[in-house]
Every structure is written in structure tokens, then in C-alpha cells.
Symmetry: C2
Subunit: 223 residues, 2 copies
């Protein structure tokens, strides 16, 4: 087809989350989450990174590689989690993964350049996500604080109290990250089943939790 | 290659500029420039657009289709126009078109939805540009007015006085658009050759001009 474009990854994201479940829906709400961009050869060459140190934020264009559906299996409407999953919106009015071209777009903080790797914060990406492009964030072209954004007007707010008992084998950095992430409530929208146990992979082991009366209790962290 | 992704256009941009020359380097500086997103079948179905009317701004992910080079012919460094074309910066620190995956990213204003077409303003795209994805602009995830942006810190300012003599066959809307666009100086960086005549395609005819002593004079508009 004319104007077909074949993308190959220029880098991969390495981060703490091993599945989609658990990842904040907009990563910059949780700048505690740190990860790395590991370039594919030869794209991390020092000269390709020259000048990047002057930018505090970057755009990542990445692939929804965890999608189960085949490419092209798009849906004209999706039910955004923030509308409780029961209102259908057009795919172009959402950032849902099931889109004709399964590209994600995320702004992240660039916190350091470590050799040929970029240390970033606030990425809403799964570990191993392919990255197709990186661009510097330029406020005069990218920042429109007054933009109207329909049903996605306000940032999701922390809504759960998080309890991580001292015997759970997590260090203080991990506790800090998980408290921020879990307070935003990673459960599917409006799912509230006190007896249900949830788990997601985080830094190589599974964080297990349940939620009752607005309190999220981490019950285990195990391989 | 693993994680290769084949993109097909979901839409095309229809706008006044028929070549790269003349297009403002960041379109939102010139919201007078109006264009349309014309969806490919079946992506413009009314249900796919549902909810879009609540958003004032959109992201477009598009293809640098006018690139002469073959895919993969990337350069580790580029010489950004705003640095006068004589300082090499790493490709990841710029938005230059010659990148491993030739994707562009632009924020535009959504001014109307006209049937299955979107009327937009401020696009820095050439007429006929393939669009691969459209996402709603969400300020809490996308707007960082305080972000540091290295060498691209300030928005380019109008720097030429534009004179369009009354006998040039342009209507008042066209004059308004061209005055805004031309005041930003479309010439290659630091090129200042008073005797040189420039031209670029605009709405089906060629705008011809020259520049002397900071004054840009439109000399013709002809088929």
C-alpha cells in the first residue's frame, strides 16, 4: 500500500513492570517509577545523543507490543477505564491500545544519560516495550495547559490508602514506588471485590494485594 | 525483525502547502493555517470520532513522506535550522526528518468536525502527508510548560516585515495566512541573498518573494 511504513525498534524500555496490569495509566503521575532506554545498535552512539542533556522531558513513540489482537483488528469504539468501562467513545478520542496502528505516545522525564542508555522517570511502559522514536519535548510546540480534553479533563487522583506491612520483603525505594503506584488503584475500573487477590510482576517478583474499604493491603512479594 | 511494525495510513492531511519549503517549522505558531484530516476508509466512521468534539487539541503522528532518502539512511547528527545550520546535534535531540523511523509528531487545534473530516489549525504538514495515528491532547499528561528544552528554548519570533502589494491576486484570507507564515522567514537559516527569488506552492499556485533589509516582498502568485 502506498505510504506503508515499516518501523524497526530503535531502543527498548527496561523498567520495573512486567505486565500491563499495575502500570499507571499516565506514567508522569508517578515520577517515582524509574526505567531505562536501551538503544539498539548503532542508535545509542554518543554523537546521536549530543545535546539531549539540555532537555528535561522526552517524547517516546512506542509499540503496544503486548496487544493480543492482530494488527488491523481495530475497534471503532472503546470503553475508557476512566468512564467506568461502560461508555463507548470513538477510538480517535482515546489513547486505547487497540487502534489501527498500535502506537503509544508518552512524555517522560529524562533524569540522566548513562553511557549509551537514558535513565527516565514516569514511563507508563511495560518492561521490554519496543521504542520507535524519541523526540525532545519543546514547550512552545507541545505544551497547551489550557487545552480542553473532554472526558479526560482531570488527572486521576490517588484514591486508595496503601498499607505495606513491614514483613513484606521490599526495600524502601520499592515501597515508595509501589505506594505511589498502588494509591492510584490499578484494578480494572469500578471493580470492587474485597475477597479478590490481585498480583502483578514488579522487578522480577509478584506484588500481591487486595483492597477493602478503600485500603489496599500488600499481602506478599514473591517469586 | 522482532517488533517490526508495519503502519498503513489512517488518514491524509489536506492543506495549503504543496512543498516542505514555506511550512512553518512549528505549525502552532501559525494557527491561521487551516487544513483537513481526510480519513481513509473505514477509519472516519462516525462512531470512531465519537467524543472527539470535547477536545480542543490533537496529536498527529505522521510520516515524513517527502524525504528523499531511503528508510534507514539515518544520520547520527543533524544541523538544526535554528542553530544557523552550522552546529551538529544528535538526532535524538532534534525533530529533524532524517531519523531511523521517519515519524513526525505535531500538536494541532481541532476547530471543527465536518462529517467524516476533521478541520484543524496549525499543522506543520505538507499537503498529502500520510497520518498514522491521531490521539487526543490531554494536558495533565502532555503539558509541561516548565520543561527545559536546550537549544530550542524560545519560540521563533516573527522577524520580517511582509509586504503583499494589492495587485497580487490573493484574497484577504490568503493574505492573512501568508503574512503570518512569511513573517517567520521561511528561508534556509541565515541565508540572506537580496537578489534571490524564492517560491513555494500554496493553494495550487506559487507564491514568489524576495527579501531585502528585513522586508519580505511578495512579487507574484502564479500558476
Amino acid at each position: 500500500m502506498e505510504h506503508s511504513l515499516v518501523l524497526d525498534p530503535i531502543a527498548y524500555y527496561r523498567g520495573p513492570f512486567g505486565s500491563k496490569f499495575g502500570i499507571p495509566r499516565q506514567g508522569m503521575l508517578v515520577p517515582q517509577v524509574e526505567g531505562r532506554i536501551v538503544f539498539c545498535e548503532p542508535y545509542g552512539a554518543p554523537e546521536a545523543l549530543r545535546g539531549l542533556e539540555g532537555f528535561s522531558h522526552l517524547w517516546l513513540i512506542w509499540g503496544f507490543s503486548a496487544n493480543k489482537k492482530a494488527k488491523g483488528e481495530w475497534q471503532a469504539t472503546v470503553r475508557p477505564p476512566r468512564l467506568g468501562g461502560n461508555t463507548a467513545m470513538g477510538v480517535w478520542a482515546t489513547r486505547a491500545p487497540y487502534r489501527p496502528n498500535p502506537l503509544g505516545l508518552s512524555c517522560v522525564q529524562l533524569s540522566a544519560i548513562d553511557g549509551t542508555e537514558l535513565v527516565i522517570r514516569g514511563a507508563d511502559l511495560m518492561d521490554g516495550t519496543p521504542i520507535y522514536d524519541i523526540k525532545p519535548y519543546v514547550p512552545y510546540a507541545d505544551s497547551y495547559p489550557q487545552a480542553q480534553s473532554g472526558f479526560a479533563a482531570g488527572a486521576p487522583q490517588p484514591r486508595l490508602q496503601v498499607v505495606i506491612p513491614p514483613q513484606i520483603p521490599l526495600n524502601s525505594r520499592q515501597r515508595q514506588v509501589l505506594e505511589a503506584v498502588l494509591s492510584l488503584d490499578p484494578r480494572p475500573a469500578y471493580q470492587d471485590t474485597p475477597e479478590k487477590n490481585y498480583a502483578f510482576p514488579f522487578e522480577g517478583a509478584d506484588v500481591c494485594f487486595r483492597v477493602e474499604d478503600g485500603i489496599l493491603i500488600v499481602t506478599d512479594y514473591r517469586k
